[in-house]
């Protein structure tokens, strides 16, 4: 029951955030220099006088501002983000078609980063002056400092061009024939480099974070108790320490979903991955404002949803928070 109220509160808060993003979009349309109708139509689209007139009517641009906001919220909450004249399609359908690849890329990168990151962090914490620990230090500084698109380009040059192990770009080989399994393998093959590029930044942070929090947890009383009881070392690390040490990683990973999506924009552009990022890039070059603003909304929506998911996950990992509710 308590969990249910907590969930409802979280969802209500999430809904308010969604509304706030829509209001921001509305403000951006009106704050941008020029005629709002032009912004809605997109500068380079086929914004003829007729189209502009129909947009003015549809969005009530001749009415007072607060009524316009009402019209805008009404439209967008029904999933109508306008028409992209550049792609000649509705913005919503355009975006929905691109969300899948982005989520695939982002979750793969995230799982890779969390999985390998915590593993490296745990190994490093066993011997704080060992090779792995030094590797974690170097990795975390290099991973932070290298521009993500640059890492991607370097990997392309090395692993797709000099040693052609992986494809240079795109998500699948269109000439490939064969069953579903071969198609999946093909997508996985294309996924390796982009996911690795995106993941390595976060891998760097998570391995360092895990090491720090493992070292802290390993110094605590209950670990000494466990060791004194004769719990095998493997179990001390795996069960007693890791479960507590992984909490900060979960928190940070949840908070960082926005920056992972930001990273995905660059990685997708480098690898020509057909997701939201390349769509954002192309529509910005085309000054296709409705699509750009729609992407801003949907990417924020993904972050909001992921925050709620992290919150729930956090309660699963840490029973103390469950009872505190």
């Amino acid at each position: 029951m308590q969990i249910l109220t907590m969930l409802l509160r979280r969802l209500l808060y999430a809904a308010i955030l969604v509304l706030a993003v829509l209001v921001l979009n509305f403000l951006l349309i009106h704050l941008a220099p020029g005629d709002p109708a032009e912004v809605i139509a997109g500068e380079m689209g086929g914004a003829t006088e007729e189209v502009m007139a129909s947009i003015r009517k549809a969005y009530g641009l001749d009415r007072p501002l607060h009524e316009q906001l009402g019209v805008y919220l009404g439209k967008t909450l029904q999933g109508d983000f306008g028409q992209s004249f550049f792609y000649n399609a509705s913005v919503t359908s355009l975006i929905l078609g691109r969300i899948g690849p982005t989520l695939l890329l982002v979750t793969t990168a995230l799982l890779f980063a969390i999985g390998l990151g915590t593993l490296l962090g745990v190994i490093a914490s066993r011997n704080p002056r060992g090779i792995v620990s030094n590797l974690v230090t170097v990795l975390s500084i290099v991973g932070y400092s290298a521009p993500i698109f640059w890492t991607g380009i370097m990997l392309i040059i090395l692993l797709a061009w000099i040693f052609p192990v992986f494809p240079i770009s795109n998500m699948r080989d269109v000439t490939l024939e064969g069953g579903t399994f071969r198609q999946i393998l093909d997508v996985a093959h294309h996924l390796v480099l982009p996911a690795f590029t995106l993941g390595i930044v976060f891998l760097a942070q998570y391995s360092r974070l895990t090491r720090a929090s493992m070292l802290e947890v390993l110094g605590s009383d209950y670990i000494r108790t466990a060791r004194a009881k004769g719990v095998p070392e493997r179990s001390v690390f795996g069960k007693h320490a890791l479960r507590n040490a992984i909490l900060p990683v979960v928190t940070i990973a949840g908070l960082q979903f926005g920056s992972i999506i930001s990273g995905a924009v660059l990685v997708e552009t480098v690898f020509n991955w057909p997701g939201l990022g390349t769509l954002a890039f192309q529509s910005i070059l085309a000054r296709d404002y409705p699509t750009v603003l729609g992407i801003l909304f949907f990417s924020a929506l993904i972050v909001i949803i992921m925050n709620v998911v992290t919150d729930i996950l956090y309660r699963v990992v840490d029973p103390r928070i469950r009872t505190a509710d």
Binding site: L31, S145, A146, P147, I153, W161, I261, G263, I284, S299
Partner: protein
């Protein structure tokens, strides 16, 4: 009597004077090889950026040789040329100013907004805190790069707008950090002491709490410079930075379409950005260790 004698003697002999925190931190910083390396590296880069253009005065926009000449083949362009035939070496030397300036300006805006929001929220708490933290959370929900892309597209891609956009999307982490520090310090005894002698809130915030909250904020500000430089590079890579100013990011953006024909046109400026951010983050790490006595033994 005897006691005062011994006190006098101690004063004569010199009670070990407490070291000023800044000089203590500097001493710790100097001991840190990696951090000193970062400092020297950054000094070197700043030197190239400021003095280089005087020594190597080739205009980076000027076409000097055949397009896509690889490095080491032609003395006119020792590091090769880009797709238009512009000198890469000239670009590396001249392009640093804009990149560093935008990074510094954006970091300044980030810290100013973040510090103000965090300080007010952490000091006043209550309704102020609630409102400011909801605003902060709202900004954290927007993917920063996406938001900055939208701002730059809708308004303009001049370097000023780019710096403001980066600042506007990057301040929430700084605000959270500042809030946590203010929250921790506001209930300490010396703050109550300042209040009891009649210090007003603004004075307590800026003169009493802020100086004590500075160490972690300085570290975060240093790292913010690195992040801002990466951000500018990212926007440039997407072709969203000022096309009239030559920067490392601009080189990357204009070389993007020819990665496989001219790897040097993209990887060299990218390498400069990498080295710069590396230097900044080594310094940030060193400052963190220097300010944090607890970590010193590790």
């Amino acid at each position: 009597m005897a006691q005062s004698d011994s006190t006098d003697a101690m004063i004569q002999g010199g009670i070990p004077k407490a070291e000023h925190p800044v000089s203590e931190a500097w001493r710790m910083f100097q001991r840190n090889t990696a951090a000193m390396f970062g400092l020297v590296l950054l000094g070197f880069l700043v030197l190239i950026t400021l003095i280089g253009p005087l020594v190597y005065s080739v205009d980076p926009f000027e076409i000097v040789w055949a397009p896509l000449t690889p490095p080491g083949q032609e003395a006119t362009a020792p590091l090769g040329t880009d797709y238009l035939g512009r000198d890469i070496l000239a670009g590396l030397i001249h392009g640093g100013v804009a990149t560093l300036a935008v990074g510094l300006a954006a970091a300044f805006i980030t810290v100013t907004i973040g510090l103000t929001v965090g300080a007010l929220a952490g000091f006043y708490l209550g309704l102020v805190d609630d409102i400011l933290m909801r605003v902060t959370e709202f900004f954290q929900v927007l993917p920063a790069l996406m938001f900055a892309m939208v701002l730059v597209t809708l308004f303009s891609s001049s370097l000023t707008v780019v710096a403001i956009a980066i600042g506007l999307v990057s301040w929430p982490p700084t605000a959270r950090l500042a809030r946590a520090e203010f929250l921790r310090i506001r209930n300490l005894e010396y703050v109550s002491a300042a209040r009891s002698v009649g210090a007003k809130n603004p004075r307590i915030i800026w003169r009493v709490i802020l100086p004590n909250a500075l160490p972690p904020l300085i570290v975060s500000a240093t790292l913010t410079i690195g992040t801002a430089i990466l951000f500018e590079a990212g926007l440039s890579f997407l072709g969203l930075s000022d096309p009239n100013t030559y920067s490392w990011g601009y080189m990357i953006g204009s070389g993007r379409d020819n990665i496989l024909d001219a790897w040097w046109a993209v990887t060299l400026p990218g390498g400069m950005i990498f080295i710069t951010v590396l230097a900044v983050s080594l310094i940030g790490d060193g400052l963190n260790d220097a300010f944090n006595p607890k970590l010193r033994e590790r």
